[in-house]
């Protein structure tokens, strides 16, 4: 459903959220190492997130990437929209270019239920929620 880069993006933002309390900024290398992803992929993707105002950045010494309290309270769908685009949640289950109630593929109705359920999940889960599970040792970003 989501691209590898998008999954990496969600993990990176969760990591930044975990640094919110301390106010620390994080560099590309540090983030990539922690979430076990390619440094270059992470760099490109973080730029995308900055442009979409999902996270922030500062250049120069003491610079790095960081997140605000407001951004921490955003749902993860914001990350998905920024990285994979808005029509992730509109795609046909059988790959038809135009699949809707009026011209549908054979699994349209059932697939829509699943897809919508995933969308709701992405709309409801906040970055802070996911960050909490990691902080509490209930979930992990690698493995």
């Amino acid at each position: 459903m989501l691209s590898l880069t998008c999954k990496t993006a969600i993990k990176a933002v969760i990591y930044l959220a975990s640094k919110f309390e301390s106010g620390e900024k994080s560099g590309i290398k540090e983030i990539a190492e922690f979430i076990d992803a390619s440094e270059h992929t992470v760099g490109k993707m973080l730029q995308t997130l900055v442009k979409a105002e999902v996270i922030n950045s500062a250049k120069g010494p003491t610079g790095g990437f960081f997140i605000t309290g407001k951004q921490k309270n955003q749902a993860i769908i914001k990350i998905i929209d920024a990285v994979d685009g808005k029509n992730v949640f509109e795609e046909c289950g059988l790959g038809l270019s135009k699949c809707s109630a009026t011209h549908q593929c054979p699994i349209h109705n059932d697939y829509k239920v699943v897809r919508d359920k995933f969308k709701t999940l992405c709309q409801q889960k906040k970055v802070s929620d996911l960050c909490d599970t990691v902080n509490d040792g209930l979930a992990y970003l690698v493995g």
Copy 2:
């Protein structure tokens, strides 16, 4: 969730199912044209389906691909298992290589619900069910 080839496979099998009554066999070109897919991709993929006994084939003149009554009554998960492999329904929502109840990613529980719902859909929908919706003009294989 599913590869393009797998989506193509489901459409191809539905097409073959629609030819079951008449007993006609269908060639690669005919199938590819009807479902609007690459002839070469369809050829390779049909071989995979034959090996997995999801469909049948016959070489030579009057040969082609066809489906039996028993095969028509199979669930579409058989097609998915054959083309994309069995662990489509085990994959982690955030791309962790090992994500389970004991070592989970931050969205594991919610994602599992969605994934399992999709799996159930694929286990319940028979080729014949999908074929019927197309025959009845309620659904399409192209567009």
